[in-house]
Amino acid sequence: MRTIIFATAIRYLTPVFLLFSVYILFRGHNHPGGGFIGGLIGSIAFVFHVLAHGSERTVNTYFQLTVFHQNRQENHSRTKYVWDLVGANTWKRIQPFKSASWQFYILRVRPAYMMATGLFIAVTSGVVGLLRGQSFMAAWWMEGEIPIIGAIGTPILFDTGVYLLVLGMVLKLVFTMSKE
């Protein structure tokens, strides 16, 4: 599967897929779509990436963020310090600075966390109804509409939860299976 054309195309297509999946998610309320379908499309984006580049690289690219950090030195001005931080974190310009003084943290999103977050969001959206003195999962809508996304209410939140859960679930399976 690791042909150059496929691999290169997927590198550019994955973000597009993702964007499309989010679009499908918010579109679902008025047109075909929704959280479940959106989640599946989003996961397919990553699955293709896994097929093309291997799961390790997918994790490195999309589910892991390395944040570089350095304490400000005495002789550096505040502006330069901030500029260095931004530079190091966006263009990874670490080399010029002696890397010993740089620390880094790895932030990782695990699929299981995504599942848990999704479930949490879905339940939370139901609790809103309870807090307002109605039954569990009673919908609540904001006044007015937001361009592109449309009306905002707890069902959208619920759908987002479904989206995250489905995404997390498929990723968990695919990552586990493609290991070894």
């Binding site: 047109h31 379908i37 009306a151 299976m177």
Partner: protein
Amino acid sequence: MFYALLIGILAAAAAPLLFRAIGRRVVVPMVLIALLLFVYYCTFLPQVLQGQNLVEQYSWVPELGINLQFRMDGLSLLFALLISFFGALVMLYASGYLHNDRLLGRFYLYLTLFMTAMLGLVTSDNIFCLFISWELTSISSYLLIGFKQADKNARTAAWQALLVTGLGGLALMAGLILISISADSYTFSGLTEQRQLVQQHIFYLPAVILVLVGCFTKSAQFPFHFWLPNAMAAPTPVSAYLHSATMVKAGIYLLARLNPVLAGPDVWHYALMAAGGITAVLGAVLALQHTDLKAILAYTTISALGLLVTMLGLGSEYAVKAMLVFLLAHALYKGTLFLVTGCIDHSTGTRDLQKLHHLGPGMKYNGWAASLAALSMAGVFPFIGFVGKELLYESTLESLLLLAVNFIAGVAFVAVAIIIGFRVFWRKATDKTQLQHKAGFKLYFPPLVLAGIGLLLGVLVSSVPSPLLQQGARAVLADETAKLKLSLWHGFTPVLGLSVLTIIAGMLVYSFLPAIHTRVTALQPVYKYGPNAVYHKLFEQFLVKAKAFILWLQDGYLRSYVMYIMLFFCGLLLFTLQRDTPGINITDRIYQLQEVRLYELVVLFLVIAALVYLLGTRSRLTSIVVMGLIGYSAALFYILFGAPDVAITQFLIETLTVVIFVLLLHKLPAFTYLSHQFKKYKFIAISVLFGSLMTYVMLLVQQQAIPSELKKYYGKMSYMEAHGRNIVNVILVDFRGLDTLGEITVLAVAALGIFSLLRLNPEKGGKP
């Protein structure tokens, strides 16, 4: 009363934390809480003594009759005082007994939990409330017996106690529910008013049997007595508290509580008298054969419990009085003796009678406590045990058989009392047992207090315990006029003669004890058929059979599981279809075939061709691709019939399935036919059955289309109320959102399950 229990539970939960914070001083707050509860229950005394019943009620699940209802009358108060006071002493004692234990905090957790559960048991009026407490005492007893979890005996004994009392608990629940159905009331006070209904109801006999099984397992009556001696594997404070003074009396308590409801028909009285009588004699006889002090005490406890049950079965006013007095006396002296035994064990490292000689000079406070308790146990004037024994004899004077039972148990008690109160401590011996260390304050103070109370209550029997016991007797007899006047001295009556005779006989038996101990080995073959052996045999057989059954059912082949599911589903469908028998009429709808369009036929043909090809192919890759083709065709059908949401989902799922298969493909072994030819036909038959049933159901559904308002309602409301034009999605996330929530939870759980299955590597012996 509810808040008292709440405080108990909170204290239990706090115990390990306190232990971590203040170490061994945790004993101070725990004893204080038990004392606080004791004082709290004492405040009920004036009202209860005037004959009032205090009631407290909180709704819990009113629809099912499950409410937190509490009621305080004489019987409840007697038990509550006993439990909380004894609790305080045992808490103190335990810190001396387990002074080096790392898990002391956990021990206090269990002990306080047990105390709370027991208090809940004796104060609850609602049957479910009682049942919950009942089970909680079983569970905490399990935890306490198995407290020394490194010891295999302790674990086995704990497991046995839990199984026996737990099974009894289930029987009890069934019995209580039957009673409540027949009287349509869920409280003991309500049941007492409806006693006529209960006793005439057809459920009376099964209810009585079930309740008796529950109470007999808890109170260690024959043939369920075997768990109690084994439970002596627990630390001694536990044995003293749970297995002699309180928990085993829970069964007695419930029998007494239900006495006004169920007593009357002969079956109740005879069942109680038979079981109680056998248990009393059996316990007495077995007690004399052992040389382990704790075992001796355990068997005399069983015997005493048997006597209590017998008295309840007798049911006369005298018998109930005797039961209550003896219950109090027994709790006091037996608790003391257990605590003293624990102390001996702690100081010398053994409990074997034949190795213990002349301990008195080294442990004189314990010696005094043991002697005082033993005198009470033997029924010597002026201890409360004397009053109890007199009453026991007096109530059974008319029945020779019961008198004999009483006499045998009494003789055994006297012999055991001499062993512990005299022989171990004070008999001069040449080889005096060496003490490893002296017993501290915490180890001799509680038994001394209990033994002193035994003497005090005996002397003051007519003024102190008498009014409370009178209220207790009224609760048991459901008779507001019952009188209970206790006095220490009855004059020279035949009963006094019997008492003296018992003591003399007991001394005789004591002098023959060494001979008995050498001869008991001859009885060993009999015990092979005892209930304990039967239990172990049943337990082993159960495990073996269960394993065989599971291995037969769970053979590990995916196809078997699919087959079971399909067959079960088909069975259900067939059952429903033949029960409701709505016929279908295809001929009326034959014209619909004309409406079939060409592209539908093309897709249908594609599916059939793919299926035929699938059955023939031997390559996994091909079958996956063909399966994908079938799935996509199904999605095409959805589009043709106007269900874009479903179609999209189907497309995506098919894609993912193929991809996941491809990921796993190289791990699968080569494709081979392992099944026998006959098995293949079996599978074909099952799939044909399943397919044709589904087709039939589809045809049926179309014919019997029910005009529904629902479609219209959703159509209208989805835009008006739910702000969405896509009805499918609005139903999913809004109208039926709870269903979706359940489904995604299942998805998450399934994903975790698959994850652990994939990570599990049985060949390498890996863990998930």
